[in-house]
């Protein structure tokens, strides 16, 4: 839940943020939203892929500025309302400018999925509980090989507006030693298409 029920994130020009405006927003504005945002409902994420954009400029050089994230339920027979965690993955996309569309890369007839994760409401008894109002995207899951550096990633995700279940703000950290965490980038997610995993 939001810490301040009256908080409505607005741009300096007084308008609500849309996807592009969030992508271009200052870090301090994004941090405010991270702190005040709503905890996403796992049921709103499952079965969908979201277009993603890292705000850190260097991710352009690394070819990961634009991406997609998908969410699914490993055990679809379970009631989503009772699920404690869901699963997800990243999809590589062609690095086009921000205003251009998202095009998923293709290998052998399928999109290129990597960086698998578990996603669950932040647990206060775990190290990664910096934003209790968020869900944690935890890459330390068995679907990533032990040598895969993505296992070190920990993302927090919040819903930006209560009346918009399609727009999310995330913050990515790298897990260093023990409880040490290194901030990497904010990222913005917006609902794009259904996940092939349903």
């Amino acid at each position: 839940m939001s810490k301040d029920e009256d908080f409505v994130p607005l741009q300096p020009n007084g308008r609500r943020y849309d996807y592009t405006a969030l992508c271009l927003a200052e870090n301090q504005e994004l941090e405010k939203i991270m702190r005040m945002g709503l905890q996403p409902n796992l049921g709103d994420l499952v079965g969908w892929e979201f277009r993603g954009y890292n705000t850190l400029d260097i991710t352009s050089i690394l070819g990961i500025r634009k991406f997609k994230k998908g969410f699914y339920q490993e055990d679809p027979s379970q009631d989503i309302e009772e699920m404690e965690k869901i699963q997800g993955y990243n999809v590589q996309v062609v690095q086009t400018p921000l205003g251009d569309d998202w095009f998923a890369k293709v290998r052998r007839g399928d999109t290129v999925k990597h960086g698998w994760y578990d996603c669950y409401p932040v647990r206060l008894d775990e190290v990664d509980c910096k934003y209790p109002n968020s869900v944690l995207i935890n890459y330390a899951c068995p679907r990533n090989p032990v040598w895969d550096p993505s296992r070190k990633l920990r993302d927090y995700l919040v819903q930006v507006y209560p009346d918009n279940r399609d727009l999310f703000l995330g913050k990515a950290y790298g897990a260093l030693f023990g409880p040490m965490r290194l901030f990497i980038s904010y990222f913005i997610l917006e609902r794009m298409n259904e996940s092939p995993f349903g």
């Binding site: 590589q92 690095q95 095009f103 998923a104 293709v106 290998r107 052998r108 007839g109 290129v112």
Partner: protein, 347 residues
């Protein structure tokens, strides 16, 4: 109330199968026709995919456009006719092109003339019939100058349809696709996409910024149905092309990025001398594949002719009818099509 019966000619081919799927999706009753042999089994080399018709449970009546008598059973009771069937091959001799593309169309028209249920014919023309050196963008009014026998046959057939239908008060519209691509595309646009997607290193000279026109097969077929249903479009011809104006460089770079291959920007390469080298080579390959291996030549003189041509088509007339493109940006269709090729083991 039952929807009118639609006839699709060339129904086992790339365009034909998509036309059948579009009609099926719209809930029409469909009669599909093609050569009897085309219905046996899928044959990628020949661009035949009867499994699509079989999967949809569509009525199939075999016929041969060069055998007018075989068309009687095909046209019986049809309302809308989507005349897709044609020999689409830059290496085909004129005698075959004339027999199928022109005379076959005449035979079909003569039989449709007496069909009481007949409402409208949509004829598959070709976007390439225009003088491609005309001022851009090319519109339906641009001068026509077919550059090869295939295009000449399509233009002659168009004129035949226009004259015949006007003489006999039969409704018709023409669709002229440009570089048509999409799943199951083997030739033309499909050939180009598969080649680009399988290049381990894609490269393009930095001066090759000429634009390539694209139109997704679903838009060609979707527009054909849209036009069939609208009497206001009777007697009109429509270029079917998307909004994107990808340059050669943008196309190869996009496909390389999409498929994870390396893209290299080469130093400028003058096109005219290159064409002078490629043209005799293409002709030699065409001769050898026609007379010795009896296969499709991977390089054809008419394809070489297109090299370096900056081509932009207007789609304003089509959009003016209210038709909304399913694939206004070719990149979405290209990505989907390459994924389809991969899933089906074509690349």
């Amino acid at each position: 109330m039952d929807k009118p019966l639609c006839l699709v000619t060339g129904a086992c081919g790339f365009m034909g199968t998509h036309m059948v799927e579009v009609l099926h999706g719209a809930g029409y009753d469909i009669r599909a026709t093609d050569l009897s042999a085309a219905y046996d089994s899928d044959d990628k080399a020949k661009g035949r995919f009867p499994s699509v018709l079989k999967r949809l449970g569509v009525e199939f009546v075999p016929a041969d456009l060069t055998d007018p008598g075989s068309l009687d059973a095909v046209v019986d009771g049809v309302s809308y006719v989507f005349h897709v069937a044609a020999v689409f091959n830059y290496s085909a001799p004129w005698s075959i092109l004339e027999a199928v593309n022109i005379n076959g169309t005449r035979s079909l028209l003569e039989r449709l003339r007496y069909q009481k249920a007949f409402k409208k014919l949509v004829f598959w023309g070709a976007g390439g019939i225009y003088d491609l050196s005309s001022p851009l963008p090319i519109t339906e009014e641009s001068p026509v100058a077919p550059a090869n026998d295939y295009l000449r046959s399509k233009w002659e057939a168009e004129k035949l349809v226009k004259d015949f239908c006007e003489d006999h008060k039969m409704a018709y519209s023409m669709v002229r696709g440009t570089t048509v691509y999409g799943p199951r595309g083997v030739y033309g646009g499909g050939q180009m996409l598969m080649a680009a997607a399988t290049m381990p290193v894609a490269a393009s000279p930095s001066n090759w910024n000429f634009r390539i026109p694209f139109g997704h097969v679903r838009d060609v077929c979707g527009a054909a149905l849209y036009l069939a249903e609208r009497p206001a479009t009777d007697g009109e011809d429509y270029i079917i092309n998307d909004n994107s104006q990808l340059t050669n460089i943008e196309f190869f770079r996009f496909v390389a990025e999409l498929t994870g291959h390396i893209y290299v920007n080469l130093p400028p390469v003058p096109i005219r001398p290159l064409k002078a080298v490629l043209l005799p080579l293409a002709k030699a390959m065409q001769w050898a594949t026609q007379n010795i291996t009896h296969t499709q030549s991977p390089l054809e003189a008419d394809t070489v002719d297109y090299l370096g041509l900056d081509v932009v088509y207007s789609n304003e007339k089509l959009k003016g009818t209210g038709y909304e493109l399913l694939y206004p940006d070719a990149r979405h269709g290209i990505a989907e099509t390459i994924a389809w090729y991969g899933r089906n083991g074509w690349i």
